[in-house]
């Protein structure tokens, strides 16, 4: 395979995306489109910028608008223009940019769309070919559209949270603001469907993304469980036989699994407890009946294993064990490194680091590398002077009146 490196520079070449809002969902959508080669322009609030700039953790735990780690991660390959889109001058600049764009992706509250000049009807007038993607927690319509939200609220109201954590404790929050990431990638999927459709007749449209619905779409078991049988699935009981659960090994946690179409003897042999070989444990029914006993034997066997050797041995034996890896394990992972997952990025303030890259590997694409997240307003001149033809004096005025 001619698969050299990730970033498929040409795939969305010539596609211009405006990103309005901030936080995670719209920026992650923008990042994904940028990964595939689109030009992405962040419109940021003057002086404070995207709210994520003020969100930690920060490089060396030293807070600064240019060193927020989530911001650095979410905004590679983009440019930054500061603009007060709620001012009339700001609106007119935004309109100019909207006319030359294919996509605008934003995560403003439904109530703010009009005042930001981003209501679907007005965008159609500005640019009929524009695809306008709105990302909101609960949608642009419906009982909760004006509800306040944060990641945990979305997670709860999506239905997914009820099913996370231990059955004898409270439901447990997802990690790293995942609801916004899942929303961001769903937004990029729907936006691409609209962009593909635009190829046929040049027409744009409104894409509406609802975060709770993106996450609810994960529940392909719990929903039919109720809809087909009236049964309510809950969080996983942890008093099973110790399989398909996180279990302690010598240096951390592993996930022993019975999946993988191998006989019980292979599984029991790998874990290494002699008593576990007993045929009465070999069937599903047996593992239910002797659950607690098996679990104790598994714990005994695992206490002699470190995570990685066990994981690799299971892979060699065509079993499908897992292991709990932390951020350091992932950063140093030979599998991810050999697949070229990481990319060195040099940022003028934050410094140099290897960044995690794209999920998929794509064949036959020339690698262009990542440019670092933009400094706040780094590209103001480029857009205002070079593209829109504002004079130096006019630009100064815009700064003074805090429009940029």
């Amino acid at each position: 395979m001619g698969c050299r490196k990730l970033v498929a520079s040409q795939m969305l070449e010539g596609v211009r995306v405006l990103e309005v809002g901030g936080g995670i969902s719209a920026p992650f959508c923008g990042k994904l489109l940028a990964d595939y080669g689109a030009e992405v322009i962040k419109i940021e609030t003057p002086s404070t910028g995207d709210v994520t700039r003020s969100t930690g953790p920060f490089v060396k735990d030293d807070p600064n608008l240019e060193t927020s780690i989530p911001f650095l991660y979410l905004n590679t390959n983009k440019s930054s223009l500061t603009l007060d889109i709620f001012s009339s001058m700001g609106k007119s600049i935004l309109s100019n940019l909207l006319r030359s764009s294919d996509i605008v992706v934003h995560n403003l509250a439904p109530a703010d769309l009009d005042s930001a000049g981003l209501a679907p009807e007005s965008l159609q007038v500005v640019n009929p070919g524009l695809i306008s993607t709105s990302i909101t927690p609960f949608g642009l319509s419906g009982s909760y559209k004006d509800y306040e939200a944060s990641d945990i609220i979305v997670y709860a109201l999506s239905g997914l949270m009820y099913h996370s954590g231990d059955s004898d404790r409270e439901p447990l929050r997802n990690v790293l603001n995942q609801s916004f990431y899942v929303g961001g990638i769903n937004a990029s999927v729907a936006t691409m469907a609209a962009l593909f459709q635009k190829l046929t007749d040049g027409q744009g449209q409104t894409v509406e993304v609802c975060l709770t619905e993106c996450l609810a779409s994960h529940l392909v078991q719990a929903v039919p469980y109720y809809e087909y049988m009236g049964a309510i699935k809950g969080r996983r009981p942890i008093r099973g036989s110790g399989f398909d659960e996180l279990m302690p090994a010598r240096d951390g946690y592993v996930v022993p699994s019975i999946q993988g179409s191998q006989p019980w003897s292979v599984i029991a042999g790998l874990i290494g407890s002699h008593e576990l070989q007993d045929e009465k444990f070999a069937t599903g029914a047996g593992r239910i009946e002797y659950g607690e006993q098996i679990k104790q034997l598994v714990i005994q066997g695992l206490s002699k294993w470190d995570r990685k050797p066990l994981f690799e041995a299971s892979g060699e034996k065509r079993l499908v064990f897992g292991m709990a890896q932390d951020a350091g394990d992932l950063y140093q992972c030979p599998q991810l490194q050999s697949r070229g997952f990481f990319e060195e990025v040099n940022h003028p303030v934050a410094g140099t680091a290897r960044y995690p890259g794209m999920g998929p590997r794509l064949s036959d694409y020339r690698f262009l590398g990542y440019t670092p997240a933009p400094l706040l307003g780094q590209h103001n001149n480029m857009f205002l002077k070079d593209e829109l033809g504002y004079t130096a004096e006019e630009i100064l005025d815009l700064y003074v009146s805090k429009i940029i």
Binding site: L172, Y226, E227, Y253, A327
Partner: protein, 453 residues
């Protein structure tokens, strides 16, 4: 209404289980013709037809493989062609179909695909501008490329457990960052892979339109999972931090958590982001200890004393319903939400207002009736994107694909059937023994069930 975005696009979907079948289902929702490559041999059939259920009323019938609810969700809107890929003839037919299709979805191991001769270099010969997704656990290259995978084991492997876990008491008895990883569960990684695969496919279609080039998408679930842990991994790269397990708490917001309500396993979450929300919450709860403590206006102080604050909030939520609390707090501008289970989701106002769950009226002969399904998290204003048809019965499109699309002579199709290369009834089928809901409830597999349904 317009033509749907993917009308005229043909997808061959040989994938199994969750991630790629769901990707195919979404492509069908978008208007593509998706042909599921099924088999009528039970040992090789997609296990969601036979192992996962759930079957209507927990009573699998003689044609149980057509009636599983999870299978129906993941394969709606598709057609089904049965092919025996162990036979030359079956493989040849598949390649002929790929030659007249646009997209090919598969999730076998690299070893199996090479053995079938269905790897990308081979299929590219047959269809030069093919867009192919190879979905595996760890990818087609690298030291782990031959390892199999399941989402339950993959999820912690790609790092979710580093950031997810309950708080644990420290030396002073206060709850603090935990050591024990936990899981999101519900095959979380499968869905990340499904969304990532959909994006790669649509981008590749756009690219193919402009350049005429096909694409091979090497979609490793492990790598996809890691790409969603980006800010955590980068925190290690810059600061050497390996884990952050804050339970249901938050770095900046306090209080922030999940609180027990009246009723069985009933919970509400809330987040206090600023002093206005804090003051408002104090008034609503009406507890002097919170209202009178001036220090609590500082979020850092609240964070420090959140064990005590949580105790007070819990005492307040404990005798109220989660829905009542959500409405009260939201009316007062405080972020708050019910922790919905599946029954509550299906009855939830916002999902209902927005028509999120889509109903399918199944054919009478199927015995399934009318059921609601998860749809998708987005809509397109120019299109009525929806679930078009139920999941296909085994081999329902054999005639259509072989006779019409591939224009095989009728006797040829008959010969395939006689050789056992195609079929419409599952060979070696055995009605699964289901576990009664009562027993599942005892085992803790389900929380509760409605007997009256």
């Amino acid at each position: 209404m317009n033509r749907l975005p993917l009308e005229g696009v043909r997808v061959v979907d040989i994938s199994r289980v969750f991630a790629m079948p769901y990707c195919g289902a979404y492509l069908a929702d978008l208007g593509a013709e998706v042909i599921k490559i099924d088999t009528h041999y039970s040992a090789f059939v997609d296990t969601t037809r036979t192992l996962n259920g759930p079957y209507p009323n927990n009573e699998p019938t003689e044609d149980y493989w057509e009636t599983a609810g999870t299978f129906q969700t993941l394969n709606r809107g598709k057609r089904s062609l049965t092919l025996d890929l162990r036979s030359e003839k079956g493989l040849e037919t598949l390649k002929e179909l790929v030659a007249i299709s646009d997209i090919f979805l598969e999730n076998f191991t690299p070893r199996v695909m090479r053995r079938f001769g269905l790897d990308y270099p081979n299929l590219k010969q047959v269809k030069p501008d093919l867009i192919m997704v190879s979905n595996t656990g760890y990818g087609h290259s690298g030291p782990w490329s031959n390892f199999g995978a399941m989402a339950t084991a993959l999820e912690p492997t790609h790092g979710t457990g580093a950031f997810m876990g309950y708080l644990e008491p420290d030396d002073t008895g206060n709850l603090s960052e935990g050591f024990i990883p936990n899981k999101i569960a519900n095959s979380y990684t499968d869905f990340l892979a499904s969304w990532t695969g959909q994006l790669a496919v649509l981008t590749s279609l756009y690219n193919r339109h402009n350049t005429g080039q096909g694409m091979w998408i090497d979609l490793a679930m492990y790598q996809v999972g890691a790409s969603f842990m980006g800010e955590g991994i980068l925190d290690y790269a810059f600061n050497g931090r390996r884990t952050r397990r804050l339970g249901n708490r938050h770095e900046y917001y306090s209080p922030h958590g999940c609180y027990q309500c009246i009723g069985q396993d009933n919970w509400v979450v809330l987040a206090v982001r600023d002093d206005y929300e804090w003051t408002t919450l104090c008034k609503l709860i009406g507890e002097k200890e919170l209202i009178d403590n001036e220090q609590y206006h500082d979020p850092m102080v609240r964070y420090k004393f959140q064990d005590r604050i949580d105790e007070i909030i819990n005492a307040w939520t404990y005798s109220r319903s989660s829905n009542q609390i959500m409405i009260l707090l939201q009316e007062n501008g405080i972020p708050c939400g019910q922790v919905l289970n599946a029954k509550e989701m299906l009855a939830d106002n916002n999902f209902i207002d927005r028509g999120y769950f889509e109903s399918i009226e199944h054919p009478i002969s199927s015995g399934i009736g009318k059921r609601r399904y998860t749809s998708r998290g987005w809509s397109l204003s120019r299109n009525q994107i929806s679930i078009k048809t139920p999941a296909p019965s085994l081999g329902e499109a054999n005639e259509y694909v072989l006779g019409e699309l591939l224009a095989l002579p009728h006797e040829h199709v008959v010969a395939l059937e006689e050789q056992g290369a195609i079929g419409e009834t599952l060979e070696g089928a055995k009605i699964p023994e289901v576990i009664s809901l009562e027993r599942q409830s005892e085992l803790g597999w389900i929380v509760d069930y409605d007997e009256s349904r």
